[in-house]
């Protein structure tokens, strides 16, 4: 295996600097003792404690988590059932259903948000938590389907029959055999929906009411008003959380990979 050229290494470093410099700047100034985001005056943890006391932020965080959980769970249920139904469809119907799934994904978020807003307004439903949840479920379902459907495709079709051959009825076979096979897809679909929901700004912006702000919306109003480095503190915390999650996932994945490799080695030596 050829070693990496120095020019390649340099290029990687430059791009990584580009990717992380703004984030590092944000994090550094979250400890700044003055309100300035540019001039360093001293070290403090004030902004972090302010953050925890900021009612608006804690409220919107709560909103966001509840919203994400509820909409993801519902979307996962609907989406998994949808994948089950779609996998049984004939080619024409299946293509149609899948294309339907793509519509929310390929539409610009602003168009989705605006169209949903029109729907709610025309239906006379006041914008608030309910409409938020409905909107989030709507854009989450496709992600679930796109994660679960391939699992159906990859699954050995004989598994279901094998279970029946060994004595299970239809429903038992489904839960004992099919569900474990598609479970990785269900989980990844759920997690994906959760992530998109937590992070969503544009669609929420158009479908929420004044009482039910989500965290991204609160962040938006904070950046508009340019108040305090609490934003920086928030960014740092979010970054650390995301970093931890990714590291854990990576370690878990590499552990799984190591176990698989060890298993294969053992298998070969038999």
């Amino acid at each position: 295996m050829t070693k990496m050229k120095n020019s390649s290494k340099l290029y990687l470093v430059l791009i990584y600097i580009f990717l992380y410099a703004p984030i590092i700047v944000l994090m550094v100034f979250s400890f700044n003792s003055s309100k300035s985001r540019n001039v360093w005056t001293g070290f403090t943890l004030n902004w972090y404690s302010n953050l925890f006391n900021n009612r608006q932020i804690t409220n919107s965080l709560m909103n966001t988590l509840v919203l994400a959980l509820v909409s993801s769970v519902v979307a996962t249920i609907i989406g998994t059932l949808a994948a089950l139904g779609i996998s049984s469809m004939k080619k024409k119907a299946r293509t149609l259903a899948i294309n339907l799934t793509y519509i929310p994904i390929i539409s610009p978020e602003i168009v989705t948000g605006v169209s949903l807003m029109l729907l709610f307004v025309m239906a006379g439903v006041g914008l608030g938590m309910t409409t938020l949840i409905l909107a989030h479920i709507t854009f989450n379902i496709p992600y679930v389907i796109l994660n679960v459907l391939p699992k159906f495709r990859q699954m050995d079709t004989h598994l279901y029959e094998a279970a029946q051959d060994l004595g299970c009825n239809g429903v038992q076979a489904f839960f004992k055999v099919v569900v474990p096979e598609i479970m990785p897809g269900i989980i990844s679909g759920f997690l994906m929906a959760l992530t998109y929901s937590i992070d969503d700004f544009v669609i929420s912006y158009f479908t929420t009411g004044p009482q039910s702000q989500t965290l991204p919306i609160t962040i938006y109003s904070m950046t508009r008003k340019r108040i305090s480095p609490e934003i920086n503190a928030l960014s740092t915390i979010i970054f650390l959380i995301v970093l931890t999650v990714l590291i854990v996932m990576n370690v878990a994945d590499s552990n799984k990979q190591k176990k698989i490799n060890a298993m294969n080695v053992r298998r070969e030596s038999l």
Partner: protein, 270 residues
């Protein structure tokens, strides 16, 4: 298990929350405030052609920059020995998981008149340059926010190009440039088209970036729509018309990129 019934809740949901809203947008686009059919909205758009032009142009520039920067980056990472690849890949994707409002906000800190960059240049007696509230800043914001969406699909396709194919090309006499143009490029087309779509669509429809880094002086399609629905100039009919045109633009771009490639859009989500 061969039942299509489970997909019914999904179909109903999509019908109500995706199809109907779109029909509403179309309806509003072609009617006036009293519900009568009119083409005024569409003709009203003609006065905004500069805005459309600017959005398309800036999005195009941002997409091209993303492609040029991300391509070598994704390639270099895909050639790293596989057991060490995941860390590099993870680090490249990590910023994507941070709220893009915060990431865009970070650039405000850096680009402001008394921001970090200008203060750095000031050390050499240069400036202060007017960096923020320019079109350049908007493009920078787009590139920074969306480059992970170019890296991801590029990397996914490139990692599938086996190293032995590259070696075979070299073995047969291909210089580095020939390997790139005759082997890597043709095989990475699916990643390129997906990446282009995933960067161009959010870029052309954003309103956050133009507001935060463009200072509101460089209106884009997204700004227009937002203003018509939630802003002072409340005109949902005009807003719907603009949204419709935006959708058409997006669909045209996607059909163009699809000409080059048959892969499903859903591949990249995995």
């Amino acid at each position: 298990m061969k039942s299509k019934l489970p997909a019914v809740p999904y179909l109903l949901w999509m019908g109500v929350f995706t199809i109907v809203p779109f029909l509403l947008v179309i309806f509003f686009a072609f009617t006036d405030s009293s519900g009568r059919f009119t083409l005024d909205n569409l003709s009203g758009i003609t006065s905004y052609i500069p805005v459309f032009g600017r959005s398309l142009w800036l999005a195009l520039v941002a997409t091209v920059i993303c492609l040029v920067l991300a391509y070598p980056f994704a390639y270099i990472i895909s050639r790293i020995p596989s057991h060490r690849q995941s860390i590099f890949y993870m680090l490249a994707i990590l910023p994507m998981w941070m709220n893009y409002l915060l990431r865009t906000y970070a650039w405000m800190t850096i680009l402001e008149n008394n921001g970090l960059l200008n203060r750095f240049l000031g050390l050499f007696g240069i400036g202060p340059l007017s960096l923020i509230n320019t079109q350049g800043a908007v493009v920078l914001g787009m590139v920074y926010d969306f480059i992970p969406f170019m890296i991801l699909p590029l990397y996914s396709t490139m990692v599938k190009i086996d190293n032995s194919v590259v070696e075979a090309a070299q073995d047969l006499g291909a210089s580095t440039w020939s390997v790139l143009t005759r082997v890597i490029l043709p095989l990475s087309v699916p990643g390129i088209t997906t990446g282009i779509t995933m960067v161009f669509v959010p870029s052309v429809s954003t309103f956050i970036i133009s507001r935060m880094l463009g200072g509101g002086s460089w209106l884009m399609i997204g700004d227009l729509i937002e203003m018509q629905f939630l802003g002072n100039a409340y005109n949902p009919n005009l807003g719907s018309a603009i949204s419709l045109v935006l959708m058409v633009i997006v669909l045209i771009i996607m059909s163009i990129t699809n000409l080059f490639d048959d892969e499903e859009v859903g591949e990249m989500i995995k």
